[in-house]
Symmetry: C2
Subunit: 270 residues, 2 copies
């Protein structure tokens, strides 16, 4: 490790992929140096997050041992710390920061576009997080994230049915269109934007991956329909990138469990 490199520090809950996984994938796919306290010391990860998000944590993150003065506090993890001055939160915001620095923002793919690629990729990242992460979560927690699933099972059954039948196909169809159109816009076939891998591809990969785990029957039918071949091919292509493949096969990749993507058979197709 060169002294001139400031490693990125991911601060997220231990034990689940969760929202932190999007940050991990951006770092892993680019072979970037980072620390991951959830893996290196789960107990410290929990206490660090608690100090950063506590209601009575004070007025500034500097009151937390993990805080960095000058940065507004965050409401929830993931957090990304980068050196002595940067501590930011909100998954799409962290991805915006990393994409700009790790070559995942589609820059250079459309000559003369200036910073337009940053906004295009950000738009796709936000939409993928909405439809393939947040709504997948709300399918099992439609009433309150603070209540147990068992206390909102009836409502979850209704919401999951709508998600499988309406929302999920809508989002998959959208990304199918985006991939198809990218080539016509002068980009590289198979990817969402521009000439290669961006943060948006990684978020769609993780969303499809998690939803395949949570709703195997519904996703099996959607895949078999042939209507979303490009999206499923993108999932496979990202999984096959050498650095991503090595990560997915490592112990660093947490198994799905009680996070965003949960396997409740009663919420899946019959």
């Amino acid at each position: 490790m060169s002294l001139s490199i400031t490693p990125y520090e991911l601060i997220y809950w231990p034990g689940i992929p969760g929202r932190g996984e999007h940050v991990r994938l951006a770092l892993e796919a680019t072979g970037t140096l980072y620390t991951d306290v959830a893996k290196s010391d789960p107990g410290v990860a929990v206490s660090t997050i608690q100090s950063l998000v506590a209601d009575d944590a004070g007025d500034n993150t500097s009151s937390s041992p993990a805080g960095v003065p000058g940065n507004p506090p965050g409401l929830a993890p993931p957090f990304l710390r980068h050196g002595d001055r940067v501590l930011i939160s909100q998954t799409p915001n962290i991805l915006l920061y990393l994409a700009q620095r790790l070559g995942l923002a589609g820059a250079g793919s459309a000559p003369g576009d200036g910073d337009l690629g940053m906004y295009h990729v950000n738009q796709l990242v936000l939409t993928a997080l909405d439809g393939l992460s947040d709504e997948a979560h709300d399918a099992h927690h439609p009433i309150a994230s603070g209540l147990y699933y068992e206390d909102q099972r009836a409502e979850a059954k209704r919401r999951a049915e709508n998600y499988r039948g309406e929302r999920l196909p809508k989002f998959l169809g959208y990304f199918e269109r985006v991939i198809k159109g990218n080539e016509e816009r002068g980009g590289k076939g198979g990817w969402l934007y521009g000439g290669g891998l961006t943060a948006a591809d990684l978020v769609v990969f993780q969303g499809v991956d998690g939803i395949k785990y949570a709703f195997p029957k519904a996703m099996g039918k959607l895949e078999a329909s042939g209507n979303y071949d490009r999206v499923f091919a993108l999932h496979k292509a990202v999984a096959g990138l050498p650095k991503v493949k090595a990560y997915l096969e490592s112990e660093r990749r947490a198994p799905y469990g009680m996070g965003i993507y949960r396997k409740y058979p009663e919420l899946d197709d019959e």
Copy 2:
């Protein structure tokens, strides 16, 4: 109007403030030249949006008369068109674009911070949209945005109770902390970030404003508690900015109705 100025074009549904209102407020608060097809020609607004988001709209927005080649399609309005080359969607993404160009990104407020203000303001914008817009909407539509309220009234009652009692105070408390801390971080008292108005203040303003309309009793109690004085003062301060005040008093400001913020008394406190 100088020929050298390229006006911003907001494309959003007519008749409701909705997500488009965040874009309008950024443009209005800065006295920026823009067109607003929802106001100038509601019929054209609807047909334009339909052509931009249609499932069979083709692979590229260029197949829509409103499209701009080179931009990936969007899933939903608001859209922002800027000149011959830029067409972007996703509310926080449009605000990121505008904040950078209209001086609403907190730039210059912390000397030596480079582009850090952009990420800080984006973080606050995203959190305000999550808690004061999306979750306020889901309080009356917890099962499916495509179903009528009447078909999810029982579930809405449960979700709204959780929103009023848990989520809303959590978000208000967070922004109270952010405002309080900004002064300690060297910023200007009363604002969320840096030396003055940013896009984040405008989103919090609109969220508080809409929630006051939708949940007048719950918000009355929260305001009377004295725990969120800075947040309510920020709402008042933004409303009192001369350009914002003039806008709010104009016909351009759409009344609340059947959009994000809805007044269903059975979802409010007793």
